[in-house]
């Protein structure tokens, strides 16, 4: 794929992903989890990654912070102060250990990502101890208190264990852990999917407030489009390992251009009456990502599918300013 540049002025992007690929070897063949994606993220912005299960969004999120080794491509992190560029996928493990303080992740399921045998206090202290942040116990105590305060956990909970807490509070622990080392970049992998709507709203507000205060850069992964729209500056829609559309959050909802995005948007149930919209019901399921054929990944379910779609894989092209779409038929439909 050709270079994809965002036209956000002359500023160097904070993260630049080029031709990133992640394949898994399976018994039945090569699984193309993430297949040749390129994009950039500016400092302090939130990039939303949406798609259905198995589209590669979590794999991509993990590749960004090297929790998975990539098959090909690069993820370049730009340090504005030092003026240096680091390719996360290629640095040595000792450099990576230092870098991990800057890049963090919050996982989806607050029930399984916390060690059930550690108390809230120990869970939040863990990253601080592992990285030898404080020589002095009192400083560490102050920092843990501060973190608990930041994410809205009451001090009386510090000796509780995860099983005693509800999902929302557990997710707050996960967030506190990721904030402990003052990161710059946080991958939020479905952070609110396991929570009820009221708790979900509380966590979304918290994440928003934290970003305002500390200027974090987020990648927000979710299958829930209304949540993604609420938090993101730009949104990338993924289908079967590819980014099919990338645009400003407002424009994506006003002018969805890729047929898959259109179908996805029309499928969201809206909590309102008399919403006039065309329901596009997609036939069939997402095909297997193992040894995908040439051509557009979406062709089997696309209502506009043409001859060219079966032969050539479409590139992500800028069809409108800052609005990228990977579809052969974009100007037509």
């Amino acid at each position: 794929m050709n270079d994809v540049k965002t036209s956000t002025g002359g500023n160097k992007p904070y993260i630049r992903v080029d031709n990133l690929k992640k394949y898994f070897h399976t018994k039945r063949g090569l699984l193309h989890a993430v297949d040749d994606v390129s994009f950039t993220i500016q400092k302090g912005e939130t990039l939303g990654l949406v798609g259905e299960s198995g589209c590669g969004k979590s794999t991509l999120g993990r590749c960004l912070i090297r929790l998975l080794e990539t098959t090909a491509g690069s993820v370049v992190l730009h340090d504005e102060k030092a003026g240096t560029d680091t390719d996360v996928t290629k640095v040595s493990s000792s450099v990576m250990k230092e870098l991990r303080k800057k890049v963090q992740i919050v996982f989806q399921d607050p029930y399984s990502c916390l060690n059930p045998r550690l108390s809230v206090w120990e869970l939040i202290a863990e990253p601080l101890i592992v990285n030898d942040v404080f020589a002095n116990k009192n400083d560490m105590r102050a920092r843990i208190r501060e973190l608990m305060n930041t994410v809205g956990l009451a001090e009386r909970l510090e000796n509780s264990y995860p099983h005693e807490l509800d999902g929302g509070r557990r997710q707050r622990i996960g967030i506190a852990r990721s904030l402990a080392l003052n990161p710059e970049f946080i991958v939020l992998d479905e952070p609110v999917s396991a929570l009820d709507v009221c708790i979900q709203a509380q966590i979304l507000n918290l994440l928003n407030d934290l970003q305002k205060e500390f200027h974090y850069t987020y990648v927000f992964i979710s299958h829930n489009l209304s949540v993604v729209k609420h938090v993101s500056d730009r949104i990338a829609v993924m289908y079967l390992g590819k980014i099919v559309e990338l645009s400003n959050y407002k424009e994506l909802f006003v002018k969805p251009t890729h047929p898959y995005t259109q179908a996805l948007l029309s499928a969201i149930p809206v909590a309102k009456l008399d919403v006039q919209k065309e329901r596009i019901i997609l036939e069939g399921d997402v095909p297997s990502p193992i040894n995908p054929p040439n051509g557009c990944r979406f062709m089997g379910r696309c209502r506009y599918c043409q001859e060219i779609c079966r032969k050539e894989t479409p590139d992500l092209k800028e069809v409108l300013p800052d609005h990228f779409v990977a579809c052969h038929l974009t100007p037509v439909i």
């Binding site: 259905e52 009221c198 709203a201 179908a263 149930p269 809206v270 399921d285």
Partner: protein, 331 residues
């Protein structure tokens, strides 16, 4: 209730109270629940985790695990008969035959070591007087009805995708033409595009089979799509019950309003969501009076003392909040 709705009544729940009695204390899962459902209606049952939605559904099916579950009081009148007075053999004929249930997770509700045609045929043989060959033929018909090709009837559940598995579960539920279908979060485990397919199918089949439905969900969007009436549950009680149109255009109970505000709006571009402060109360230790009063913005002194009754605020729109009802001039 006028005579017309009385005749049309399929299910009526009166003062249903269900508790789980454990060593740690008594869990008040459902308290004084009143509901009615007419023929052909779809009732949406909305609430957060632990609000008692599933317990109510299991109560109707008489499937509350006991111990620790106990139905303390109340009546569940289905087609004029109280289900709570039925014997176990009578209940077995009703379950699946007259009232069928669709569970949330299709992977755990299907038998992994049995082909899907046999699972559907099992249901048919149990309730209809037909032989093996005939039941398998009917099973194939059911599969075609839910949009699965007949050739796949000898496949095992793991050979199907999540959406297809839920279709199989729907085929089992509808195999004996039940009058009432209880769907407990039928699409929560599915992706949005697959969810749209399954909801479309359920809407179509409900019409075709002329069945009534109770749809348990936490998604107000799904309710807007397919329900006629809505009951909002909070901490074991129904706090608001109304026609869908009335509820969506004019929510009355503060909890319902909070619930609507918590959902990020696709059309709106506001920064922060108006959240309901605090958490759902522990069902072992419910607050006195109105269970919602510690989190409520319009709570008054009386709210912590008296349990609010359901008040009709107009045209069969009930809400358990005297303060708001008064403001609307109904009490």
């Amino acid at each position: 209730m006028d005579a017309n709705t009385q005749n049309n009544l399929l299910l009526e729940i009166q003062d249903l109270t269900i508790q789980y009695i454990t060593d740690a204390g008594t869990v008040h899962a459902v308290e004084n629940l009143n509901l009615h459902l007419g023929h052909g209606e779809t009732l949406g049952f909305v609430g957060e985790t632990g609000a008692g939605k599933t317990t109510t559904a299991l109560g109707i099916m008489r499937l509350i695990p006991s111990p620790p579950g106990v139905v303390k009081s109340g009546k569940i009148i289905f087609e004029g008969q109280n289900l709570l007075e039925k014997s176990e053999p009578e209940m077995r004929a009703i379950r699946g035959g007259k009232i069928a249930m669709i569970f949330q997770d299709p992977m755990t509700s299907l038998n992994p070591v049995m082909t899907v045609d046999k699972q559907i045929a099992e249901m048919i043989k149990l309730h209809k007087n037909v032989g093996e060959a005939e039941s398998l033929k009917l099973a194939g018909d059911m599969l075609e009805l839910v949009g699965i090709r007949r050739e796949r009837m000898h496949d095992y559940p793991h050979q199907f995708s999540g959406g297809m598995k839920q279709r199989v579960v729907i085929a089992i539920a509808l195999a004996c033409d039940p009058g009432l279908l209880i769907a407990d979060e039928p699409t929560t485990a599915l992706d949005v595009t697959i969810q749209a397919q399954v909801l479309e199918l359920m809407k179509k089949l409900k019409q075709q089979f002329d069945a009534s439905m109770i749809l348990i969900t936490h998604d107000l969007g799904i309710v807007a799509d397919i329900c006629d009436k809505v009951a909002i549950m909070y901490a074991g009680r129904v706090v608001e019950y109304a026609d869908k149109r009335a509820l969506y255009s004019n929510p009355v109970h503060p909890y319902t309003i909070g619930l609507f505000n918590s959902v990020p709006d696709l059309d709106d571009d506001k920064e922060a969501l108006n959240v309901i402060p605090g958490l759902m109360p522990d069902p072992m230790d419910l607050p006195a009076g109105c269970t919602f009063h510690p989190r409520c913005t319009c709570a008054a002194e009386q709210c912590s003392k008296t349990k609010p009754a359901m008040i009709d605020v107009g045209n069969g729109h009930f809400a358990a909040c005297p303060i708001r009802a008064k403001a609307l001039g109904a009490a």
